[in-house]
Symmetry: C2
Subunit: 217 residues, 2 copies
C-alpha cells in the first residue's frame, strides 16, 4: 500500500484541515472542533513514535487523513442514529479526498480507519492504521481534556452533573459506564499505557467530586 | 433579629426546596439545579460549623433560605443583564417567602444575602449571613465540582474548551480570569481555607490539561 516515495505529510495536513473546516458541522462544539482533530493527530503521532514491533509499521498519511476527517459527520451522543455517523464520515471523507487528488490506493484504508474509530459503531479495527486512530481518539476522551469534554458534552445535552451511578442521564457516570473500559480496549501497547495513566487521573477526580458532592438529599 | 425560639430548619427546608423547584428556571441546567442548591447549603453548614469568633454567630434560617433561593432568577453567563439576576432573585424570594409565612423580620436579611451572593452584581456583603452564602456558593465553583460546572457551562454556551489564555471565549481561561481570584475574596476564614484547597486542585488540573493539549497548530 506504500508508494515508493512517501507523500509529504506536511503538504497534506493543510488540505485535510481545509476539508474538516469546510464541513463546519462542529461549529460551536468545543469538544469536537479543530483543536480536537489536532490533538487526535498529535496522539497518533505519539503512539507511532512509541510503537514497537508491528505497531511501528503504520502508514502515517492514512493515519493523519483519518484523524483529521473522522468527525466529518458528528451526531450528538443522544442522537438515535449516532452509530451510523462514522460510516457517513468515511463516505464523505473518501469523496473529498478523491476530489483533492489523495492517493487512490489509500482511500479505502482511510475509510476503514474512520468507520472503525467509533465506539458506538462497534466495528472491528482490522488494520494497524485503524487501531492507531481509534486509540488516538479515545485518548482524547481520557485525562484532563477528556474530563473537560465529558462535562462540556453534558452541558450541551442539558443532563445533570452526577447523582446515582446507575443512571445514564448523569454526566459523571460516563467515567464508569464507558471511560473506565477504554484502557482494556486499547489496540496498541503505547495507547494502553497512556490510557491507564489518564484513567487514573479521571478516577482521582471522581473521588474528589464525590467527596465535594457530599450529602445530596 | 433572632426569635426567642429558633424556627425549625428541618420544617423550612422542604418549603424552600418547593419554592426553588416551582421556579423551574433551571430545568436541564445541571450546573444550577437542585443539587447545586443542596451543595451550597451543605457548604454553608460546614462554614458555620467551622466558624469561630464573629463567624460563629450566624442565623442559620436566613442562611438556609438564601442558599436555596439564590438562583430563583438565573441568567446565562453571557446574558447582558446577568448582573441584575441576583436582585430579581431576591425580590422573587421575598414574595414567595412572605406568602409562605416566613418570619417577616428576617425577610430583608435573606434578600440582602441573595443580592450580594453574585459575583457579577458586585455588591458588598454587609452581614455575616450574606458573607456565608457568598462563600458557600463560590466554593461550589471551585474543586472537582467547580471544574465539572465550568466545562458544563461552556458546553451550554458553545464556547471552545481552551486555547489562548487571554481570550474570554475559552472555558479553561475561567480558572485564571475568575476562579483563581476567589480564595482572596472569601469572606470567612473557613471559606478561605477551603477555597485555597479547591483552587489548588483546579490549578493541578489546568497543568495536566495544558500538557495533554500539547502542540495546538
Amino acid at each position: 500500500m506504500r508508494d515508493a516515495v512517501a507523500p509529504s505529510l506536511a503538504a497534506w495536513q493543510p488540505v485535510l484541515i481545509a476539508i474538516a473546516s469546510a464541513a463546519s458541522v462542529n461549529d460551536n462544539d468545543g469538544a469536537h472542533d479543530l483543536h480536537h482533530l489536532h490533538r487526535v493527530w498529535t496522539n497518533a503521532e505519539a503512539l507511532m513514535a512509541a510503537g514497537s514491533g508491528a505497531d511501528a509499521d503504520a502508514d502515517p498519511l492514512i493515519v493523519m487523513a483519518a484523524c483529521y476527517l473522522h468527525d466529518l459527520v458528528n451526531l450528538p451522543k443522544n442522537h438515535p442514529e449516532r452509530a451510523t455517523a462514522s460510516r457517513l464520515s468515511a463516505a464523505r471523507a473518501v469523496a473529498a479526498l478523491a476530489a483533492a487528488g489523495f492517493p487512490a490506493a489509500r482511500l479505502q484504508a482511510v475509510a476503514h480507519a474512520i468507520e472503525a474509530h467509533s465506539f458506538s459503531a462497534a466495528l472491528p479495527a482490522r488494520t494497524l492504521e485503524a487501531r492507531l486512530v481509534q486509540d488516538a481518539d479515545r485518548l482524547d476522551g481520557l485525562g484532563a481534556i477528556g474530563l473537560a469534554r465529558l462535562f462540556y458534552i453534558a452541558g450541551q445535552m442539558g443532563s445533570a452533573l452526577a447523582h446515582a451511578l446507575d443512571d445514564r442521564a448523569y454526566a459523571l457516570d460516563h467515567i464508569v459506564v464507558k471511560l473506565a473500559r477504554l484502557p482494556a480496549l486499547m489496540q496498541t501497547a503505547a495507547g494502553r499505557a497512556l490510557a491507564g495513566q489518564r484513567l487514573a487521573r479521571l478516577l482521582a477526580f471522581r473521588d474528589e467530586f464525590a467527596l465535594e458532592w457530599g450529602r445530596a438529599p
